[in-house]
Symmetry: C3
Subunit: 202 residues, 3 copies
Amino acid sequence: MILYLMDLIGVAVFAISGVLVAAHVHMDLLGGFALAALTAIGGGTLRDVLLNRHPIFWIRDARYLWVILAAAALTMVYIAFLPPPGNSLVVADALGLALFAISGAQIAEASGHSFLIVVLMGAMTGTAGGMLRDVMSARVPMIFQQDLYATAAIAGIVAYVILQKLGLPRTVAVSVGVLVILGVRVLAVVWGLHLPRLSRLG
Amino acid sequence: MILYLMDLIGVAVFAISGVLVAAHVHMDLLGGFALAALTAIGGGTLRDVLLNRHPIFWIRDARYLWVILAAAALTMVYIAFLPPPGNSLVVADALGLALFAISGAQIAEASGHSFLIVVLMGAMTGTAGGMLRDVMSARVPMIFQQDLYATAAIAGIVAYVILQKLGLPRTVAVSVGVLVILGVRVLAVVWGLHLPRLSRLG
Amino acid sequence: MILYLMDLIGVAVFAISGVLVAAHVHMDLLGGFALAALTAIGGGTLRDVLLNRHPIFWIRDARYLWVILAAAALTMVYIAFLPPPGNSLVVADALGLALFAISGAQIAEASGHSFLIVVLMGAMTGTAGGMLRDVMSARVPMIFQQDLYATAAIAGIVAYVILQKLGLPRTVAVSVGVLVILGVRVLAVVWGLHLPRLSRLG
């Protein structure tokens, strides 16, 4: 139930991020819907294909697509009248990343996979939609250029797994995991935090 | 049967479009075959993976690969002697888009999926091969830059679904759907039609 | 057994190539691990999804992920102190290409597929990881720009299949296939060999 709600909010915020990027690169209306859908379903689709969960989540339950359509349409109406708040793309993307990373980790965990696979599956579920969005609009994916992107996802998933193992209620573990990802990403952007770059090691 | 023929012609025209792009960016012979194959099988492979149809169409029936090889080789020979007609890339791409969009929609419909999923699956089947082709050759995908691309696909699929629901023979519905996509795309390019851009709304 | 070893070495060298590219484009530490993992598991994941082999190889056996982590970490430590040898990216990529191409071909062959599908599946398994790596770091994929890339893969797979058909031991056929790919790629880069470009045919 909580997982279902997370996925619904996740597709909505990723759809919003897709429209914001589409507007930024001057796509037309339907291109905007296409990029919104791609961003919103990319991560969960990869998760379901890799874990052999059929039918894929948005084929099983059409509500996801209606949520994407609604979120994208509302965003288009909004930006037609008002400029979007400064950091809205980063915030929408961070929220989608957080919700899908923890949802992907939960599903991998429920299938009995080991710690490393839970982390990787969560990270892939959280990041794939945004990667598709960025590659399709000819931008370098955030995960490869921005501050603490993969780091945030992994930190939140690890927090979630540990709290679960410690016996805390799932709701608490999930909430902390999501907040860690959101917090690390937003603070990293605000304060300009970053890990050492590879080429600066030498 | 008609579906099979559509898929065969679809892979052939997408293979042609792959070779044209490969020549445009100065790939070598085998790079051209690789791009032709990627463009031709991309959309149908995505369709089969998402709908869990195994074996994938080109694994089940090797005829597809021979058609791709033949279409790509003939195109290479042609462009070695004659310059390709001006709009050949747009026309080959539009034909592939039309055939695969309607074929993807038919298959989703036959599996009993709802209207929205039929439309989305058709659109993805029609556009994925061309997207792969463009991303791999470092071009912004047509769907995100060109006039009425997603629009054409969706209009044709909607026409096909409505005619089916009205009880017309499948052959008629399929033909109209394909012609709508082809027509919208070609007229949009000729007349420079386009939907409003997202950034111009404000 | 030999197949298992090939896959393990394959993921290791592709992980190394991912870190080298990540350092080249100034990614941070975790971005480097992400690109290493994407490069290392991309081809085999595509192979397993297309052939409907579940669980995917790295989900079935977590050893692959540990090998990737170790190879990526060692490479990061190495390049922190010493500049990598001049052609290390080309060599690591060629080795990964060779090992995964032959492994993909073997698996397709074991499933009883025809010659053309064995070749295509081998080529896709060998090249997909490197393509993902290059697209994600905004480079034109090697397969589409570099000397005898697809050619090397196909030559090695054909050699492997023929030697198998002639009744030679699998170990010999596999070794020759791998060496042909490695040899063709390395010699092509050293001597600047290439197939005719498509646009130069006319």
